[in-house]
Amino acid sequence: MIELAWLIPMLPFTGAVINGFFGSRMPKKTVGLIACLVMAGAFIISSSLFIKILSLPVDQRSIEVTYFTWIASGAFHLDIGFLIDPLSTLMIMVVTGVGLLIHIYSVGYMHEDKGFWRYFAYLNLFVFFMLMLVLGGNYLVMFLGWEGVGLCSFLLIGFWYEKKSASDAGKKAFVVNRIGDFGFVLGLFLLFWTLSSHGVTSLDYKTVFASLHHIDTATITVITLLLFVGATGKSAQLPLYVWLPDAMEGPTPVSALIHAATMVTAGVYMIARNNALYAMAPISGEVVAVVGICTALFAATIGLVQNDIKKVLAYSTVSQLGYMFAAVGLGAYTAGVFHLMTHAFFKGLMFLGSGSVIHAMGGEQDMRKMGGLHKHMKITSVTFIIGALAIAGMPPFSGFWSKDEILWEAFEKGHTIIWAMGLLTAFLTAFYMFRQVFMTFTGECRADRHTQEHLHESPKIMTVPLIILAILAAAGGIVGISFFEEGTAAHHFLSPVFEQGGHAAANVGGHVAQNGEALHGGMEAILMAVSVAAGLCGIFLAGLLYYAPLKKYAPSFWRPEVIAAAFKPVYALLYNKYYVDEMYDHIIVNPIKRFCGWCLSFDLGIIDGIVNGAAWTTRLWAWLLHKFDIYIIDGVINSAATFTGYNSGFWRRLQTGRLQNYALIFVIGLLIIVGSALLG
């Protein structure tokens, strides 16, 4: 099976090429079929690879495959090759599995779009790059995927490029990601050169991880922090999260695949992959965890007041990604990756559900104009609620297991503040998610008559993926826990990958971990109960505000309008997303633009001015010299001529032509000569 690994990314790539070149001339059915078939093929190979890896003994589960040498030059050697291990197989399962479902869903969702073939070409291309990212066996292949998914994200966010907001959002995503990549690239360089000064000239993960002992803690801290800057860009963490909410301009299945299930988790994957590095840099780990949990809380507060059905989901994605970073930052890689997987299920599900809603509503995304949709679209509504229960952390849905794992790890490792913030976020998450559920699916429909008449459940091609994802979102946690929890059937599936990281992290937090042992057991159950209670609380409070049957029990101050009015400045702050975009515009974008303008004026005015000034001065001199030439030099010559002329004119008078005059002068002259001779 390992020999077929190259097919996993190449199948979607082939799909992209076929659809990209010939799609415009093929019927939509064929285009959709090709795109889905290549995904199905990739998924089948991925699954068999996964089973194959499971069947291997634990210590042989990491396999390197090399295909060809990409760059070889002196001290530098890079192959195109894959590293197949539990982490990467799990990631390809998620990417191809969820990807396949979203491809199928898209066939229904996009069936009226004129750019159908373009859409599937991009989507396949995206999957190709994403698979390169997670399968790549060295940092540069990862970087290839890393940039590639960014490009596809740019193309797909701006898919409806005729909308200015869509193309702006695409550009914003790419540029913000590039800012993150700035850090990422510097980190890679620092890593490479530090290692190469010790004779390690490869960027293969295995080689790099095996030679980390050469690097001192300070350097590795800088490296890991720089890599994390890249992750904040790609995975929408503070302060670079701003592109993700705007990215909702893309088609909804794209939001589900790229901006929820796969691409945005690349940062988490990257840190998990580099666990050996982060284990050596405890400070970086702390930074990652703190940034992650702050993002989680920050985004959750914004999510409270958004009215766009997709924007709520976008902020919740930012928030959930924050959870994952908190986990991997604390060294709880297994928990982080587990949450990555369950999040892919339930958030993919909810995005597709919202797509189904938008489809039914004829493109409307404002939840204030929805309501009562449960009557019209039962499958969408039930599956969406399953997703909401999962993200709210209700047992036994998948989100419960993974979120609880993260909170427990935080508590166990002694990071009580992070745990508390996580708990608060869990409460807020449950609140705004059910606010969304209640506003969308319950109560009276607030849409106009025309829209109401056209409300309908989506076709099977869209609902079947919803149902499958709902099953995964519901049961994925229970199945998953057997892979991620210790002492179960597939004992320590991921732990070989994280062994190095885990041990080092354990060493760092030495005594804390021992405390943890003592706490284990009863404490875990109590914490579980607390987090479930927080979630329930959130759901209940949302119900009091937005769910008709509960509303009447609410006290008079507990109404959306009343609260919004009472906390007007806070509400405005949240509603406007803390004015972060405006801040960036004022502090960064506009000054840069102005500075560019200055540079241009400098270039035209000063530098080119000097050049033109030199030319002008030369011409001035030429003119002056010309005048000098005419009036002075030529003047001297001409005056010499004139003088000679006058002069000769004067003397000409002697030349009278009369013989008598000549004879007279002759005689006078003769007399003078003779006289002077006689006198002398």
Binding site: S24, T69, W70, I71, A72, S73, G74, A75, F76, L140, F143, L144, E147, G148, L151, F154, G158, Y161, E162, K164, A166, S167, D168, G170, K171, F174, V175, R178, I179, D181, F182, V185, L186, F189, F192, W193, I592, K593, F595, C596, G597, C599, L600, D603, I607, D608, V611, A615
Partner: protein
Amino acid sequence: MTAGMPILSILIFFPVIGALFILFVMNKERAEEIRWVALIISAVEFLISLYLPFTFDRHNAGFQWVEKTVWIKRFGMNYYLGADGVSMLLVLLTTFVTIVCVLASWRDISIKLKGYMSLLLLVETCSLGIFLSLDLFLFYIFWEAVLIPMVFIIGIWGGMRRLYSAMKFFIFTFVGSLFMLLGIIALYYYHGKMTGVYTFDTAILFNNPIAPDMQFWIFIAFFLGFAVKVPLFPLHTWLPDAHTEAPTAGSIVLAAVLLKLGTYGFLRFSLPLLPNASMSFAPLMMFISSVAIIYGALVTIAQKDMKKLVAYSSVSHMGFVMLGIFALNLEGLKGSLLQMVNHGISTGALFLMVGMIYERTHDRTIASYGGLFKPVPVYGTFFLITVLSSMGFPSTNGFIGELFVLLGTYKANWAYVIPAVIGVLLGAAYLLWLFQRVFLGEVLHPGAGAGAGRHPLKDLGLRETLTALSFAVLVFWIGICPRSILDVMEPSLNRIVRQVERNSKKAAENSASAVALVLSAENSYNPQNDPDVERGYQEHQEDYQKTKERRERDDDAQRQDGQPHNEEQWKRNQYPQGDNDPYGVKKSHDQPQN
């Protein structure tokens, strides 16, 4: 040194013959015929240049296909041509770009077509002469000669301000070249005084570096000549004007070939001839280059005219090339040579793209466009590929080049990596912004009238698609298999790096001992007696030996498992005719022919 055929001379002068043919034989009324003949001539020229990579001995670091005849014996001037990996790549770039230029002028140029095509071919001749000359005086002659056809191309077939731009271009670069001439003459005399051998022959000059204090002044003189051509900030202002006013093909050849002359000059002449000065100037040069990268990028962002935007982006990109050269290590040189080729491809393609749209609408203002992706999707796709290549997207050529420049820069001075990476970032910003403004958003283009899209633009025709496709193929070919190019340049660049090291030491010794290395007075220099040529030859032999061992190892491996382990084996398996010289043993080495 192939059996007597003066391939390089043929390469240089074939376009002249073509130009004369067009000028004196062709009938000016039959425009279509002139176009086809020009195309055929440039295509044949390209085929001739393809002879080089097929006969190139990639393990030979020295000059190949050398031709050398005494020209003016009294002044030590020779007609001395030769190519190594560096020149060969630039020659191929030149011949390829010329075909593109002819194709790009197909409909663009209709007046005085005969003169235009002839001048285009003359530019090719002069550029090839520059890349292939190994005699400083010959080099200078070609260097100045290339200006003349170029100035006419801009001045006759250019835009509104063509005369201003042509004059500016001419005077600016001419003043620079005069300083260079001064430098060449100073080098000639100083070297003559030191050694008794008055010559412009680089084979001798490369091995007898002059005293470091004199190098200082000659470096400045060379710098003024080369930096103007690059163009390096702050000597760059001729570039946007010349580029903007030139016809499309003029811009392409200017960007792809003429801008390479400066950086080639630094690489080929400044470094080995003036090693000590290069080393002491390197920090300053790296600083100027980083300023150029960032400054160029910032000015580019503010542009409102497409062609000007592309023109200014060259300032930033060429800053990259300079940064790599003055990192003075193998990675940096590799990166900058690759970036020279890449810049030729991506910026050439960008000018081509801008030219294509200008041909249709006669408007280059970015704000006049929007949503072009809809009416012209094929054009948009090629534009996007070009943009990606120019901004260094992984899997395109730009990525590999930038990577190596950054690697080299890091090795030389890590601090300069930061401005360089910021430059890459800004590059992405202005290119994507350009793409977004022109191709995304509401459909809008000049001539569309009130109802946008009512007069849809025509998408690319066959000729245009093929031209654009050839660029796209190069972009991905270099991006995915960069080894095919990196391997060609490696030995030659390695040699330059070693020359710099060796010559800098030697120059210091020369000036310290003050003993002039007097060679035979009759100017009959024999490289066999020169210890340095011998040493270089030995180094070359060592390289050669290593390669041979590696191949033997591969051969053993192949015998065992039957799989090819390198390209040669693969080729041999494919074409199993008898090759009784599998290692190229009989091929000659690094010796100039007398």
